[in-house]
Structure formats: structure tokens, C-alpha cells
Symmetry: C2
Subunit: 201 residues, 2 copies
């Protein structure tokens, strides 16, 4: 399984935002693209992927490729899934999840608690400019990629992550958007051993 944890520093933790202005809603456009770039293929879904959006260090919304329904590639409908989840945050008590729609769950967890829950599932790989270049690493088994949104990780977040992290990885010489980094991370793992045979685009 591949998992992605995306830290949304300015992301909304309540549903009172407009789907007409996702950048103004704490860059929910970017977070929506992180969901779709991690879970969707052309005319298909990556069933072995789970993506966690940590919103404002307060609430974590998880989308599970194995069970999610009605996930479309566009930002607006994906943001609507998040908004719908936030509308039911009142039902989430303690660390118990609510599942407002199939495959979309919400828990009252910040980054520290989300790392406690998820990082042990595999190898935590922090995507960071100071990391080891991916080509120099063996592709991880059951990776849990940790990414930040449009802001850099804070020192406190990096310190938290380092408590769990197996490695810091950098994917290339250019600074990518988080959703682009997810696409490249998938490609890194997909194409391990790729070449010398005919594949599909």
C-alpha cells in the first residue's frame, strides 16, 4: 500500500467556504488535487492508496482508494467531498472516525496523532528539498509519503516527522507543487524496472 499525508497549514476545518473560490479556502484547490493525483488514474483508481489531508492541525480527512465512490478528477467535486465530510465533524468524538461518504473518513487528529496512527504502517518518507535524491534510493516498501502544501514544513513539523521518518527524499531538481510531487512519487514506484517492454501511457 502507498499512503500520502498532506499538511494543509491554512486549510479550512469547518465547511463554511465557497466552492467558487478554492484558493481562498486555504488552498483547498491544491489539497483537492493531492487527493486526485494520488488516487486516480485515467479511467481508473489506485485501490492500494490511502490519502490523508491534515487540515489546520485539527482534523484529518482520509480518502481510501479501495472504497471511495464518486471521486471525480476535478477540484470542485473533490473539494465538495471534503466539505461534506467537514459538515459532519460534529459526529467525530475523540479519535473515532466518522465516514460521511463511502471511503471518506474524518477524525479529530492533528499531524502528531495522524503520524502516530499512520506512520507505523510502512516506511515514512518525508518529501523535502534537503532529502536524498530518489534515484539513489531503493523504492520503499509500503511508503507513507509526508508532504507539505504551499508552505514549507515548520521546524516543529519536521521534528515530529523525524521521530517517525525512515528517510527524507527529494524527487528532482525543481520545486514541485505537492500534487505534482505525488504524481512523480507514483511514477518513481510505478516505473521501477520499467523499460525494455511495452507499457501503457
Amino acid at each position: 500500500m502507498r499512503q500520502f499525508i498532506v499538511v494543509g497549514h491554512d486549510a479550512p476545518t469547518t465547511p463554511d467556504f465557497s466552492l467558487d473560490d478554492l484558493p481562498g479556502a486555504g488552498r483547498l484547490d491544491l489539497l483537492a488535487r493531492c487527493v486526485t493525483s494520488s488516487l486516480l488514474l485515467s479511467h481508473g483508481i489506485r485501490e492500494d492508496v490511502r490519502t490523508h489531508l491534515v487540515l489546520g492541525d485539527t482534523v484529518t480527512v482520509t480518502v481510501d482508494g479501495a472504497t471511495v465512490q464518486r471521486l471525480n478528477p476535478d477540484e470542485r467535486s473533490t473539494a465538495a467531498l471534503v466539505q461534506n465530510a467537514l459538515e459532519q465533524r460534529g459526529e467525530a468524538v475523540g479519535h473515532v472516525a466518522v465516514e460521511p461518504s463511502p471511503g471518506v473518513s474524518l477524525r479529530r487528529l492533528g499531524l502528531a496523532e495522524t503520524l502516530d496512527v499512520v506512520a507505523g504502517d510502512g516506511q515514512l518518507c518525508v518529501l523535502h528539498e534537503d532529502g536524498t535524491p530518489a534515484p539513489d534510493l531503493a523504492p520503499p516498501t509500503d511508503p507513507v509519503f509526508l508532504l507539505s502544501d504551499h508552505r514549507a514544513f515548520t521546524d516543529a513539523e519536521l521534528s515530529l516527522a523525524d521521530g517517525h521518518a525512515d528517510v527524507r527524499v527529494t524527487l528532482g531538481p525543481e520545486r514541485l507543487h505537492a500534487d505534482q510531487a505525488i504524481t512523480v512519487a507514483h511514477s518513481w514506484l510505478d516505473t521501477e524496472g520499467f523499460g525494455n517492454f511495452h507499457g501503457s501511457l
Copy 2:
């Protein structure tokens, strides 16, 4: 320079569509993401990239990284740039371009004419599942990548492309969305020789 030509089979050729339903507007959500994934980095722009959207085999909208302004990462504002260009399509006569906003131009060209104009700038690389795996190829110089939207290329389009094409390329074993394929194509070129040094995410 890197260029991308994206064939939008169902894309609108007039501006009368709603920004609230980009998937319903001939998958303009996907085409908008193709623009942003080709041109935008995190907090930066790829100035050496030009992206051409062929809309309904009738109109081609080109976004030039060297001169475009007000290009934001979200789908809606990018689709609004395309909509604004289409509002001025009446000004485009013959093959002469109009430039409705800085770095965004529109010409009355279908795929055949766009290939005639653009393909000669470099190596035409058709992104296609039957192509040669990228790792088996030397990265092209001044590539012009040709991609299709959510539909497969028609036989007529492939025949047109083959008249110009240097190579068919496949980027991996999974079928990607066109915008994801653009991100991976950039990564292929960005990371040539990457490794054994510290880069940026």
C-alpha cells in the same frame, strides 16, 4: 524549449460554458490542469514552456510561460483565461493570432494546422501506450509532446501525427491522466542525470 499540444476532443470552442461545471464543459477541468501542470512550479513558472490546447479541432489556445500573467494553479481561474480567450475568437481571422491576455493567444487552427506550425520547432513526441518506454530513449531536445485528453487519439489524428512524429513514447506502465503525464514528462527531462547531488523538491 518544451512544448505540449493537448487535443481536447469535446472541448468548448465558444465561451458559453459555466465555470461551476468544468467537467461538463468538455472536460475543461482536465485541459486547465494540463496548462498548470505544464507551466507552473511551486512558487514559480517554467518560462521555457509553451502549451497549446486544440479545442474541438477548430481553435487553438496557446499559453506561453515566458509572457503569461495571472496564471494561478487552480482549475477555475485557468479555465477563465481560456473562456476569456474564446470571447475574443471573433477577432481571430485566418491563421493570425489574437492575444486576449498577456501570454495567452488564440488562433483558428485545428490539429493539422497546429502540428504544421509547432511540430517543426523540435522533436515531436507522441505520448501513447504503444510507444517506446522513456527510459529506453535519450531525452529529446526541444520536445513537442502531443497528448490526448480523456479520449484516445483517433486513427486520423495518429496518422496526422505520424507525418511529423520523431517518436512515440510511453512514460510508465500505468495509464495516466494527460495532466499527470505532463508532470511525469517534465520529471523525465528535469531529472536527466539527477542523483548524487542535493536538489530541491
